[in-house]
Point group: C2
Chain length 304, copies 2
């Protein structure tokens, strides 16, 4: 996969880290830097029209999304987001009203989580392009590499809704006929859930490409095996619309929902949906209700 070749080049070039940098480029959801007795976390994510904004998406939703992808990275590391900066390239045909709506989408979500939008850079190009950069603080951050045998696996909610909405939108349905349209166009970053989980999670990440990819990353970086127990899954929200096999496929491999997945020792305080367990070994398996288990592959749907 070409993107991964480029990422490998980048990780190699920027391998050397400053002493106070705990996680650097390409290592986790966010970069983590020690500042006195706290941690400062940074993340950067870019979106552009041709691959990230379906034509049905409103400018308010584009703004929401540009901030949400960055806040979700911070949530997945257990940080409280504080500051956001953006760069935006406008193309011909984007007027002041459309631009204003994009920024209002950013502002509405920023206000909800008390995030300060403290900088921006505006220029003009052939495509609408938004890069976002967010910083947050954490008392305790959570990496993808901390899962331990004996931990359970938890999610904030099931995945698959955004992917299902995207497929229905692409099949020609109108926005208001599509279930879970909000999961696709204005996904909610799980800030509060991530902060709460940071007090007990051993490993955590936000899910943007697919649950399968997120779990494979945790398993690989933690040096453990993860087993999803089909018995524990409640996919009824999806099976109201599609058959069970399709629902399971969407749950495992669908992208676009901004849920969190984390591992933790069993604890009565845990907020979340238990879906499996961590064991010694490697890889990710799905233990079927019918007995036997199948491999959960390292793949996800790209957005479009």
């Amino acid at each position: 996969m070409k993107e991964f070749d480029f990422i490998k080049i980048a990780s190699n070039i920027f391998r050397k880290k400053k002493e106070e940098v705990i996680a650097g480029a390409g290592e986790d959801d966010c970069a983590v830097v020690r500042v006195n007795d706290k941690y400062l976390l940074f993340t950067a994510d870019s979106l552009h029209e041709k691959t990230d904004f379906p034509k049905q998406m409103l400018p308010l939703e584009i703004g929401h999304m540009a901030l949400a992808v960055n806040l979700s990275d911070l949530a997945g590391s257990g940080a409280k987001p504080e500051y956001f900066l953006y760069t935006i390239s406008l193309r011909e045909g984007i007027d002041e009203e459309f631009f204003s709506q994009i920024l209002t989408g950013i502002k509405n979500l920023a206000d909800k989580y008390d995030v300060g939008v403290i900088g921006g850079d505006i220029d003009f190009a052939d495509e609408l392009y938004i890069s976002g950069f967010a910083a947050g603080f954490a008392e305790r951050f959570v990496l993808q590499s901390g899962a331990r045998p004996g931990d359970k696996v938890w999610m904030t909610d099931i995945t698959g809704k955004a992917q299902l909405a995207l497929e229905m939108l692409f099949s020609g349905k109108e926005r208001d006929e599509v279930p879970f349209i909000k999961s696709l166009l204005t996904p909610e970053p799980r800030i509060d859930e991530g902060l709460k989980a940071s007090s007990y999670a051993s490993a955590m990440t936000d899910i943007s490409d697919s649950l399968a990819i997120s779990l494979n990353l945790i398993a690989r970086k933690s040096g453990v095996k993860i087993e999803i127990l089909e018995d524990l899954l409640d996919l009824s929200e999806l099976t109201e619309i599609v058959n069970y096999n399709k629902a399971l496929e969407l749950f495992l491999y669908g992208g676009g929902d901004f849920e969190l997945v984390f591992t933790a020792e069993e604890d009565e305080d845990i907020n979340g949906m238990e879906i499996g367990k961590v064991e010694e070994g490697e890889g990710v398996k799905l233990k079927r209700k019918s007995g036997g288990s199948v491999e959960v592959q390292f793949r996800g749907y790209s957005h479009f």
Copy 2:
């Protein structure tokens, strides 16, 4: 000017600031946030191929530039740059070697100033596009709004070299025939000079569009008049190549050099080239050797 309309919309939408935010979106070179007894400064800048990279520019230089524009903003506020994140969109035709050279250009400059490149995001689009985000710390930051009548005006070096190089490159000259080609393609951010000036400067900014624009911003935000004294100027580096009037035009209105301009009370410790003084009033004037004075307008050359 259309860009300024968009900036005005953005400043208006993000007007409300969090309590610890001293300068926010659109107010100065950088956003300034108080963190305990220090200040954390942020900046974001984006570059793209069609407007920012002349075809003669090498990928190493593209990488240098992507970081340098951000470091220069921090230098202009008196901060020590610490961390950098980027997002990059690659277009068809950019192979792994070209990509690797861009990142090496970033890395070489980052290493020089001990800046950690701690994050990146890679995707694919129709144009090469790089957004950069930099953060730094300052014990004492300097805004554009602090100039006081009685201060002198200083620069780290003359401006106009980058513009002259660009014009010669566009006239068909080869890279190695063009004087000041480094000022155009690998301008040096004035980090050390900015840090030193932060202990005595009352107002400061980096010059990227033109000296005229930078001085007009300082005059407007500080509520003062600035007078450049032609008597003090040494434009001999430029007049070796062009006539005096052209040299003066390049000095005042040329863009692309990353020098700093600052105001300060006279002090024997000051490092810099004195060019004028701050008075009560408004606007920016050039006091001619021949007597009389002319207005220095709010304009600069765009890069191309």
